[in-house]
Amino acid sequence: MELHIFGIGILTWIVFIPIVGMIIVLLLPDKNRNAIRWTAAVATGIQVVLAGVIFAVFDRTKLGINDAESFQFVEKFSWITVEAVPWVGRIEISYFMGIDGLSVLMIILTSLISFIGVISSWNIEKMVKGYFALYLLLVTGMMGVFVALDFFLFFIFWEVMLLPMYFLIGLWGGPRREYAAIKFFLYTFVGGILMLLTMLALYFSVAYTDPATGQSVHTFNILHMMNPANYVDGGLLSGVDTTWRYVAWMALFINFAIKIPLFPFHTWLPDAHVEAPTPISVILAGVLLKLGTYGLLRINFPIFPDGTIYFMYFMAILGMISIIYGAFCAMAQDDFKKLIAYSSISHMGIVVLGIAALNTQGMVGGVLQMFNHGIITAVLFLAVGVLYDRTHKRGLNDFGGIANQMPKYTGLAMIGMFAALGLPGLNGFVSELFSFLGAFEAYKWITIISVTGIIITAGYILWTIQRVFLGKTPEKLTGLNDLTPREVLMFVPLIALIIFLGVYPSPAIKLMNSSLGYLVEFVTNGGF
């Protein structure tokens, strides 16, 4: 499947449209704020349209994962090639993009959340130009990570995403923004170094024979890294089940676990969320966290199937701890944003548990949960943002009786809350169901303990609803305006998706079913 627009592949378009938007934003005069906003909206809007096109023409039967032939919308140009370096051979870094069932849903999610983020950024008044320029750069970084099939390219996009995020938190954030931004930066920086080291180790261990010239070529191509036949003799990561392969797996895993975030690596998340402005929280929870699990599935699982199988239980247990721990911590919070941040930890734990099961239900459930969680937390953070805009408060105990004041808002926010709670008929349930089903097949007791998380989740969500929406309206909260049309506009697509995917998730599942099934097979067979 290929699709070109003006001779340029659709993936290049979808990745670099925000950069074009960024340049236009930078060229516009500072004062013309609306033009800047509209530029960003149009750029991300085009992305949404392109994502829609991808969704429509995507071939649901092709497998992808390790087979370059069955990736779709592939674009591959050699980018940096250095010939005949002594004792290294030819170095090859290519501009290699393509998507399969694993990434297509993430692309749709990224474009949608980015677009919604722009709408909710409309009322940012401080340094509008800089804000939107960084925002669009961030979007490019995220989108790029999801389409890159060359490790070097992946790494570049990964790092491109971090810098704008750092500034967006550090400049437009709340009172403790420096602390949060630096913490975020350090955490992800440590992860980045681990990934860089592993990338280099992989690079020197993998060489494929160029069919045209017969040369042995070192490559950053992720797909080549998946093939055990491509590992050179005596390479650091050659062989199966070696200590170094486990170490490399662990290094990558820590990098991704920081992003997910899994239990011991999670403390940057609550701080970052609390200080970040609303749209950035939305992006952070909606898309950035998914990069972690996406990286696990795209890189850890197929490149190191032996390590994955070796550490299966470890992952499942971390997932379980995250579910329960995140839920309890969420219950203990008084800050609305912190509560949602911890609930994200809990929900991402479900993703990890699902994918650690290494069977199709778990995998599909996990990836669907990534998508669903992205949408649900986006709604929740938007909901907090709406309240924060009006009252400049985030403490759960500062609210009460909002239901009487803002009925429309309450209705929409409650749907989001119930989706987070895993109510059947809303999308959170479907993915939790499949994740747990898959996990139960692999690990009975771990799953049973994890499922208790849904009781705790019900506890803190209902308690939150009670404290914020129900009860008598205190004096100071009277006279709040209900949602403006712009705010309704940012909620409605997400809520519609929540309900639609809750009732009929088939369109989403069909996209990834065959790819993920193949991934499971590929990993459980040890990479053959």
Partner: protein, 678 residues
């Protein structure tokens, strides 16, 4: 016919919900006519369906389904299934729901969120009908949770009251605990059989496939699924939410917390009956029995009219569950149906009383007297004749007095337990069954007498109470009529000859032979042999209970206080509901709080501490090097700088102090030199 009609039945209430939630405020009369009309239409369709189904031979289940999702290589399909059980249940749900809609038009008349209320009723009816119609345990779970949510929303209808929102939360969370078990049960079934459909699961079991190859897991699956019923049907130990749920509007209590939703647990057990092993059934029977006993003992000391009814509901639900557990399948389900009628009637009657009391208190501007406390009532018989007479019929029915529907079903249950004990020797079950029958008659007549008979406690209030409007009393009359025996069987002393027993028959057990409970013929024989004894005993005990109540509260021959004193610990235990709330509060709620505080502390101090600690270590190092710097390096540096500074001081007076000015000079000179040497 069999696909369109059920679908229409399912969708009409949903339509009402959607229309009212979006346009409720804009419609005339806030759209109550729309909700009620659609519900009445649903009732008519359900009746048509029931009649058609009962007249269709053979009486097999009819189902149709569609593929919901394909995951991996497994297809999950959803669908509907109509068998006699479902058809009867449909009519029960739609009938009670319709009557409650009418009743609510009077009861909720001046409510602030009138249209919202009717919308939620629609949502509830939709989900409840979904439970009834589905052919699939996953879909049942889906609707199961949806009724939970609509129950949550309706209990919290007056959410300005803290107690209401607390009760709503409690109901939802306690139900979640039960659903947790059900969820795991569903997972076991799906992993073993790759399907969620009841029929397919039963087929696989009867073909000899066991979950994970072990009989223990089959029993476990049965018990876990029963956990869902324990939550929803308020069985011990998860019964605590139901009395609190009385915070909701009274018609809601009648619909959800008496007639339909709480009976869904019973319906669930009936649905999965073929896959329950003898061990699982025994667990079910004992849970039901314990629930019946606990709730009945609490009910005799309560004073809130709705609380008494709530505990009696729990107790009756325990009866039904026990009946299913011992194998008296039809009797249990029949009790569900008859109970739905008379308990809905009791609640609506109570609603009518509360409505009258409220109106009276409102006129007196009295906001302190509790309108629901039976100690504030008395003698209302003459003020509210319709309510009184219908309430009397319902009370007779629930007490199991002959000629009522309650007698028929309760009698069969008692006979069933007795038969079960003759087969297996579990004497505890019939013992509790008869004891609770007596207690039920006692506390229900206590309620009736204290409310309607005797002298009014407060003349002023008494004067203010008037009969409720027609829209509220007519549903009562209809339900009272349905509480009489001839709707179920023309023989007032034996239900087995009626149409109901013909329509609803105990399904064959599918589990391996060794694990099966006593087969139906064996059981039926045992029942027939003890039926007469059971009937006589039950009439005797019920009459005894009624007489006791009359003696204590009407004729005042025995003092209630002295009875209470003599009972001692039992009395205080009963008044305090056996301390379940307190125990759960200390163990679970407080425990949860302790854990969450601990984990929060752990998170903020230990994990974050490690992160910040690594920063600290770096800082210590830098401090150490800072010391070296200050004392050694700086010494040298300062020495050099001082020397240079003194030298510079000599020339300093030619300086302006601005670096860039110097730079201009420098570059200028450089360029000059450049030109000169070029």
């Amino acid at each position: 016919m069999y696909t369109q009609l059920p679908l229409a039945i399912l969708i009409l209430p949903l339509l009402a919900f959607i229309l009212l939630i979006f346009f409720g405020k804009k419609l005339p009369r806030q759209g109550d006519w729309l909700a009620t009309g659609l519900m009445t239409l649903t009732l008519i369709l359900s009746l048509i369906l029931l009649v058609t189904k009962l007249n269709t031979q053979p009486a097999e289940a009819i189902s149709s389904s569609f593929d919901w999702v394909v995951i991996g290589s497994q297809t999950i399909s959803f669908g509907i299934m109509i068998d006699n059980l479902a058809a009867v249940m449909l009519v029960v749900v739609t009938l009670v729901s319709t009557l409650v809609h009418y009743f609510s038009m009077g009861y909720m008349k001046d409510d602030v969120r009138y249209s919202r209320y009717f919308a939620y009723l629609g949502l509830f009816s939709f989900s409840m009908l979904g439970i009834v119609l589905t052919n699939n345990i996953l879909l049942m779970y889906v609707f199961w949770e949806l009724v939970g949510v609509s129950s949550y929303l309706l209990i919290g209808h007056w959410y300005e009251k803290k107690s209401a929102s607390n009760a709503a939360n409690k109901a939802f969370i306690v139900n979640r605990v039960g659903d947790f078990g059900m969820f795991i049960g569903i997972m076991i079934l799906f992993l073993s059989y790759s399907t969620f459909a009841f029929e397919a699961i039963f087929d696989s079991i009867s073909a000899g496939q066991l979950p994970f190859g072990s009989e223990g897991w089959l029993t476990a699956a049965g018990v876990l699924i029963f956990c869902g019923a324990v939550g929803k049907s308020a069985q011990f130990p998860l019964h605590v939410w139901l009395p609190d749920a009385m915070e909701g509007p009274t018609p809601v209590s009648a619909l959800i917390h008496a007639a339909t939703m709480v009976a869904a647990g019973v319906y669930l057990v009936a649905r999965v009956f073929p896959m329950l092993t003898a061990d699982a059934l025994l667990v079910i029977a004992y849970v039901g029995a314990i629930t019946a006993l606990i709730a009945a003992t609490i009910a005799i000391t309560q004073y809130d009219i709705k609380k008494v009814l709530a505990y009696s509901t729990i107790s009756q639900l325990g009866y039904m569950i026990m009946a299913l557990g011992v194998g008296a399948y039809t009797a249990g389900f029949m009790h569900l149906v008859t109970h739905a009628a008379f308990k809905a009637g009791l609640f609506l009657g109570a609603g009518s009383v509360i409505f009258g009391m409220h109106a009276a208190l409102h006129k007196l501007h009295d906001h302190h007297t509790d309108a629901q406390d039976i100690r504030n009532m008395g003698g209302l018989k003459s003020r509210m004749p319709f309510t009184y007479w219908t309430f009397l019929i319902f009370t007779l029915a629930i007490s199991g007095i002959p000629l009522t529907s309650g007698f028929l079903s309760k009698d069969e249950i008692l006979a069933g337990t007795l038969a079960f004990s003759t087969l297996n020797g579990h004497w505890f079950l019939p013992l509790i069954g008869f004891l609770v029958a007596g207690l039920t008659a006692f506390y229900m007549f206590r309620l009736l007498i204290l409310t309607f008979h005797g002298k009014p406690v407060n003349e002023k209030i008494y004067e203010g109470v008037t009969e409720s409007p027609k829209v509220m009393t007519i549903p009562l009359v209809i339900l009272a009529a349905l509480s009489l025996f001839f709707f179920y069987s023309f023989n007032p002393f034996g239900a087995t000859s009626g149409w109901f027993y013909g329509a609803i028959q105990r399904p064959l057990s599918m589990v391996p032979e060794l694990l099966q409970p006593a087969t139906y013929p064996v059981f039926y024989e045992a029942v027939s042999s003890v039926h007469t004894i059971a009937m006589l005993l039950s009439i005797l005990i019920a009459t005894g209970g009624v007489l006791m109540a009359l003696a204590v509260y009407h004729w005042k021959k025995i003092s209630a206080e002295s009875l209470a004193k003599r009972a001692g610990v039992l009395y205080t235990g009963s008044v305090n509901k056996w301390y379940f709330d307190e125990i759960y509060d200390t163990v679970f709620v407080k425990g949860c709080h302790v854990i969450m505080k601990m984990l929060r502390w752990f998170d903020e101090n230990i994990i974050d501490g490690i992160v910040n600690g690594s920063a600290m270590i770096t800082k210590i190092f830098s401090n150490a090097s800072g010391w070296i710097d200050n004392n050694i390096v700086d010494g040298l540096v300062n020495g050099t700088a001082n020397t240079a500074g003194r030298a510079g001081g000599l020339l300093s007076h030619v300086q302006t102090g601005k670096v860039q000015t110097y730079l201009v000079y420098v570059i200028f000179s450089f360029l000059v030199l450049f030109v000169l040497f070029l």
